[in-house]
């Protein structure tokens, strides 16, 4: 399913930020005293939170933890497995 180009770029940016968060999380699990990694982790968390807020306001909820209008917004398409992430792919 094709989605609006601007929306796709924003979603992919969120995915990239959150992936970096996951990677730093794993690293910090076994290096809990690494202050540099900790600072990068915290920075990514702040950036991701801000961008998600913007995305949810502009497009659609990313979790069920939203204040929704009627009808319940969570059920809207597209679901993650339906999106064409690479224009021209599927």
């Amino acid at each position: 399913m094709k989605i609006d180009k601007e929306r796709l770029e924003m979603l992919k940016e969120i995915m990239a930020l959150d992936f970096s968060g996951v990677e730093l999380n794993l690293y910090l699990d076994t290096h809990p005293m690494d202050q540099r990694a900790l600072a990068i982790h915290n920075d990514y968390t702040i950036r991701s939170k801000k961008l998600k807020e913007e995305y949810e306001k502009k497009y659609a909820p990313l979790t069920h933890e939203i204040v929704s209008k009627c009808p319940w917004e969570w059920i809207q398409e597209p679901w993650p497995w339906e999106i064409d992430y690479e224009m021209g792919g599927r």
Partner: protein, 189 residues
């Protein structure tokens, strides 16, 4: 607990319709060294693990494996969703189509259903973590075999990402094993 986020960890995409590789991808969806096995294994081993660092590693990697399981399902779904029964048959997915239609049922590349007998949780943290390191290497090798068998750029890009993650997980489990060994040595004296 877990909460669903309406996004994938990686933008999984497919270029064409290499249905044959979809059959192969079931290896990582419901096979012995699949993402499903990995997730269930690590999340089952958490409860008796002695160190906080390693409880975190098992929880976080176990959770990430579920995200990878979803990525594999997405690849398979994107490929087989548009295939007609005749095309599925040609790619060797006729048995799958008869029993499961186009659903992504957890079986391996040969159709053998997933079983908990693939995994172990045996309390001893050294034994558990050694199994986990082996599991990550087996998953890495499986990804390499899959990459060797397709020329779909989307599938290759997505599988290369997942292969990288196995390397990182192996690294984190290695550090975990060392921490547990040091902790055990300290306990003795």
């Amino acid at each position: 607990m877990w909460i669903y986020e309406k996004k994938l960890q990686f933008p999984a995409w497919v270029e064409g319709c290499d249905i044959r590789i979809a059959k192969g991808l079931f290896a990582q969806y419901g096979g012995p060294d699949s993402e499903l096995s990995a997730g269930i294994r690590y999340l089952s081993q958490r409860y008796t693990m002695p160190l906080n660092e390693v409880k975190a590693v098992l929880t976080d990697i176990g959770t990430e494996e579920m995200a990878h399981w979803e990525i594999i399902a997405t690849l398979i779904h994107k490929i087989i969703d548009r295939a007609d029964p005749e095309e599925l048959k040609k790619a060797g997915l006729d048995a799958h189509y008869i029993q499961h239609g186009r659903d992504v049922y957890p079986h391996d590349a040969a159709g053998v259903p997933w079983t908990a007998a693939y995994i172990q949780a045996i309390e001893d943290p050294i034994t558990n973590l050694t199994e986990d390191m082996g599991a990550e290497q087996k998953a890495r090798t499986t990804y390499e075999h899959l990459i060797n068998l397709t020329d779909d750029r989307g599938v290759i890009e997505t599988l290369s990402f997942l292969r990288e993650r196995e390397v990182v997980h192996f690294q984190r489990f290695g550090e975990s094993l060392r921490m547990v060994q040091e902790w055990m040595n300290k306990k003795k004296f």
